[in-house]
Symmetry: C2
Subunit: 403 residues, 2 copies
């Protein structure tokens, strides 16, 4: 059976994702489409709109055959670690190829860029640090260093977010003993961070989330941009838990954590650096909500998403040592869901897999400690009566199985 | 000027407290009545109904001349430490006498009991430990050990809560170089923990709080048991902040703290011992509210109040080292409020005081760290818009001054 892998967040699953999965299957002739999907907290440092089980259901009802989890240790990380984790899981599931959406849409420029940057990597790193020492954020410093070094002659525009991710997938893939075949498709119409909804059928997940939270009748506003299953799953989730997740729900917990921890304790949290802990504590005393808080802590030095990732780690109380241990111990593939085709594939490859395929969390409590904590804190954003049922689900929820 | 000291919580100030303050003044002929009052968290391991400023106002409007704070390092402690802290502060303010309510009502039995227990202390301590090793709580083991050793012939009934506190006041007082003169009055009518309101004008604070939270028209139900100022202050507080404080408000934060901390981290919190941290974590996953949680963690080994104090320390994230440092650094007297008479007295004694008299927290940030944290976490129990104004008050609130 031929298999193609996707790296996804599905927050929520929309028509662009449907197109991506279909194109990946078509252009590789794959029998099985595997998605490695972030759990409850995402790369931009945000809680997912609905939990991973609900998002798995959306994917399985829209042509994805297997959904496995990208563990917290990789999912709330900068592009490089995020990509390493995702690619290694797809590789561990014996995908022959993987397919990502990008602004560029052709694979050659990615490979050429990787080659050129390898040749000049000894010059690039010091230059990036020089720019960071001038106060630029890491992505901005990267861009400036690349401009200086390559004079804008790189074949790939690395200022575009999906080109960046794709570049890191390919870099991670190239370090494997047997690299998978990389494919890319052009992202249709919507820009990655596009916040307004147009008249087409494809919109960015960011725009869709914004509409859900800010428009009256949010769900009907997004109808044209998402498959029916997405609407249905979101409506069921709302019905069951009363809320969709966003940072505002976690603000009371984050504020409490910031005020009740010492600056030294915060400095020991993963990704917290350079004294920003004082700024965070100070701001938490005055801010009335999450967006006020973000406005008062943002700085030229860090991107918005970097700060948000930092805050997720603080919310989950993940120390530098915790994260090092977690990255070290991520030696498993956790199954979130599959259909009949997916099941057949997993049955075939299971015995050859180097990593254990986890179907029930209860048997892997220690290895999964960080993901379990993420699920618990994720649940606590909801009102007590809702969080209670969600809290129990991490250990007891079996993978979702569709025919 | 003659001065008498009281050790109080005023949660809330009721007619029994009024009687206590009047009697203390009368029987000592004091010009000045000083109350050392617990801050935001109390000896039974509970948040105070209203904050310390509101409770100070109640006291000043009912015949107390000076209110100073019993710091967190002493207020959320077993009787022994609580009493040591309170007595040393009254002594630091040059009180000639102190007066407490007790079930016994006479001072001689306290002094005689202290004497007899001193004589047999070498036998008592090992016996208490023997009973604790059989699984009894500390207070129960104390009672059993005393019964065995003194065959119920002690002149004081040490199974009564106010006799116990009084006994510890007197023991602490007797260690001073110049002990104050101890006085006790019989507590009128209401038992310490009496939970029902009778037809008299005096009821226990416990009964009054229960009525406020559980009865419709709670405030009018308590009218006959509290001075007008208490009702007024509570009504204003409700009007300003929307809620009166109780454990339920802090359950989401406590649950979050328990679930997001490792067992090892919890074991490092002050007063947490003997593996109870595992029991706490386990219960926090299943409980839907604070009382469900308490029901599932209670054990023969620990009293209810001991567990609640433990939970306050967990909520405030006070480690064993933090508490040791705090007890060591409590070298100040913090003024919460005074009237004209009180002001005159403080002006006279100020220059002779060994401890600094703090009127503004901002100048003593480090020494007050634990009390400031207590005030901040106390505020976070309220909804965000209310907590915001309360959060600012700890540093900026000047002592309350009445004519």
């Amino acid at each position: 059976m031929k298999t193609v892998g996707l790296v996804v967040e599905y927050n929520p699953f929309h028509n662009g994702h449907l197109y991506h999965a279909q194109k990946a299957r078509e252009s590789t002739g794959a029998d099985v489409v595997i998605a490695v999907m972030s759990g409850h907290f995402l790369q931009r440092g945000e809680p997912a709109l609905v939990n991973k089980w609900a998002r798995t259901r959306m994917a399985l009802q829209n042509g994805v055959d297997i959904v496995v989890e990208l563990p917290y240790a990789f999912s709330v990380q900068k592009a490089e670690y995020f990509s390493n984790g995702a690619i290694s899981i797809l590789h561990g599931l014996f995908c022959e190829s993987f397919c990502f959406g990008s602004e560029n849409g052709h694979i050659a420029p990615f490979l050429q860029t990787l080659q050129q940057m390898k040749e000049k990597s000894h010059l690039l790193e010091p230059l990036i640090h020089q720019y960071m020492n001038k106060g630029f954020s890491f992505p901005k410093a990267q861009t400036l260093a690349r401009e200086e070094l390559f004079e804008n002659k790189l074949p790939l525009d690395l200022s575009r977010p999906n080109n960046i991710l794709g570049f890191h997938y390919i870099r991670a893939n190239n370090t494997l003993q047997k690299p998978m075949k990389p494919l890319t498709i052009t992202r249709q119409q919507a820009d990655f961070h596009e916040e307004t909804l147009g008249s087409q059928s494809i919109a960015s997940a960011t725009g869709i989330r914004k509409a859900i939270f800010e428009k009256q009748n949010g769900l009907s506003t997004i109808e044209q941009y998402v498959p029916a299953a997405t609407l249905e799953v979101i409506a069921q989730y709302l019905n069951k838990y009363g809320k969709l997740h966003h940072w505002d729900l976690y603000w009371p917990l984050l504020q409490y954590r910031l005020l009740s921890s010492s600056a030294a304790e915060l400095a020991n949290i993963y990704d917290v650096a350079e004294g920003i802990e004082h700024r965070l504590k100070e701001a938490s005393l005055r801010a009335q909500n999450f967006s006020e808080f973000m406005q008062s802590v943002k700085t030229k030095r860090y991107t918005w998403t970097r700060i948000q990732r930092m805050l997720v780690h603080i919310l989950l109380h993940v120390s530098k040592e915790d994260m090092a241990a977690a990255i070290e111990s991520v030696r498993y593939v956790r199954l979130l869901g599959m259909n009949g085709q997916g099941r057949e594939y997993l049955n075939r490859i299971k015995k050859n897999m180097e990593l254990p395929l986890i179907t029930r969390a209860a048997s892997y409590k220690e290895a999964l400690a960080l993901d379990v904590k993420a699920a618990e804190v994720y649940a606590l954003g909801l009102p007590p009566h809702s969080s209670h049922s969600l809290l129990q689900s991490e250990f007891n929820e079996p993978p979702i199985i569709l025919p």
